[in-house]
């Protein structure tokens, strides 16, 4: 109960802080909409079957969701870690009963809430503005939650490694952009060289994209993808929790 109340206190503070930053809200929800607007509505699928978007829109829905699940927690947590460190908040928290795992758990909850909202928005826009043929399922939720946990953990690690907020942003971009292309999201494995296919299998985002595609587009079971993703989530959460808070 006490652990829960500590996590709740951190969650509440972080959630209220987020809700009071207009630009953060605008870009958090505006970025995925921009993505959908450019690629889903303006570029669209090439009817000749050539180019980047050679398949039906529904095939790429996991890609749009993957971008949100990847970029948002990675950059948010990385910069949050840097901000807490710069403002000596970790030093203060290190002398309270709040543990690193509890802190990360609280921020995972906040990011999960944000990303569930953003994902819902993207799905609604895709369905409203494109002819995406997708199946909505509650099975999407555990994929999104597990995906968020993975990248919250990775964001915490990047926040620990980078020594400034600028460093965190650069590190997040350097990690996230290759992952988008190496995770079976918008670029199919057969479009990549052999080494690319190997990297795809090592990326947690691959299992998110494949699982979500099976749920929303192929209507196929995705339990094994979810289990692998949960495995990654546990690993990255533990590593992330060890990475913060570290005031020294």
């Amino acid at each position: 109960m006490n652990r829960l109340s500590r996590i709740w206190a951190e969650t509440k503070a972080s959630w209220h802080s987020f809700l009071r930053q207009r630009t953060a809200i605008f870009f958090t929800f505006g970025f995925p909409l921009l993505l959908v607007g450019i690629f889903g509505v303006i570029v669209q699928t090439d009817p000749t079957g050539a180019g980047l978007f050679a398949r039906p829109v529904g095939y790429y829905v996991p890609g749009y969701l993957a971008v949100i699940v990847l970029f948002t927690p990675l950059s948010r947590i990385g910069s949050t870690v840097a901000r807490y460190r710069d403002r000596r908040q970790f030093e203060k928290l290190a002398t309270t009963p709040l543990s690193g795992a509890e802190w990360l758990g609280a921020h995972t909850i906040v990011n999960t809430g944000i990303i569930l909202l953003a994902s819902g928005l993207v799905l609604a826009v895709l369905m409203a503005l494109t002819d995406a043929q997708i199946t909505l399922s509650l099975f999407l939720v555990p994929f999104i939650v597990a995906g968020v946990v993975v990248f919250v953990g990775l964001g915490a690690i990047l926040g620990r490694i980078a020594d400034s907020r600028d460093g965190v942003i650069a590190a997040s971009n350097s990690v996230a952009l290759p992952l988008v292309f190496l995770s079976d999201t918008f670029v199919a494995p057969d479009q990549l060289p052999a080494w690319g296919s190997l990297l795809i299998e090592l990326s947690p985002l691959t299992y998110f994209a494949r699982g979500v595609r099976q749920v929303t587009y192929q209507q196929a079971p995705a339990t094994s993808e979810l289990l692998v993703l949960v495995g990654f989530a546990i690993l990255f959460f533990v590593l992330g929790a060890v990475a913060v808070p570290q005031p020294d």
Binding site: S17, R87, R88, T95, D248
Partner: protein, 313 residues
Amino acid sequence: MTPAVSADGVSKDYGDTVALSDVSISVSSGEIFVLVGPNGAGKTTLVRALTGTIEPDEGLVSVLETPVNDTDPSRIGLLPQSFAPHDRLTASELLEYYAGLYDQSLAVSKVLSDVGLTAASETRYVNLSGGQKRRVCVGSALINDPEVLFLDEPTTGIDPVGRRSVWSLLDALSDNGATIVLTTHDMAEAATLGDRVALLDDGELVESGSPGSLIDQYGGDSVLRIETEETLSEAQIGQFEGDVEQSPSGLQIRNVQPDTIGQFVTQLNELEVRYGSITWTEPSLEDAYLQLTGNDSLGSATGYRKSSAYSDP
């Protein structure tokens, strides 16, 4: 008596920089222990070592009779230097947040009242004045009603009235048994609050003691300066009691007690010596600090000492 806080032979290096070198202190329960020293002297590093937020390279730290890393965090409170909490939460929300991290805490309204922020309780941190922000931060260190309180420059940026209210608050906490370790650059704060003051310089503990004992030992003499409009003869100077020197601006007499100043005024009048002003300065903790840090010449040159001035009517 078992100390509430103790450090034994604590050393800490950052690369080639020696932040702390074999520092040992012992703070009794209920004591206000003040760390002073120049910028970079190692005060903040010592506070971090005492709170377990850094690991010393050598030495042992214990708080409330246990190694610091095993101390129940709900029994200690910390205000780090340059600490800044969430910008967009109100003062009240911030204290609720920190209260929520503990199993038991003081009422938020009480702490807001104690730090003088009741009227600003619904103002977001980002919109508070510098002094109000610092008081919220002090409140965050008090919210769990700690037995040992570590405050790294708690009154920086607070106006004189607010500073005095923080002093009163800390005094009251100490009277109720709380042990307080604080750092400051304000010698008046150190002299007013401190039961004992320790001077750190270049990572080493140079001296510690009560403010009075440090002043007695290192503060130098009280000085009476009389600005005269003429040079006195040897015979005239001989009329005065005490260690009298003549300078171009007048007379300088050491070790004069305030209640004897009147006698000097009477003698000046009897000798028909015209004078401009009479200034008496007593040694302060700042003089002791400057002496101990090897910067006493600065103090003498600027005459920056606690003083009482009298003018020729």
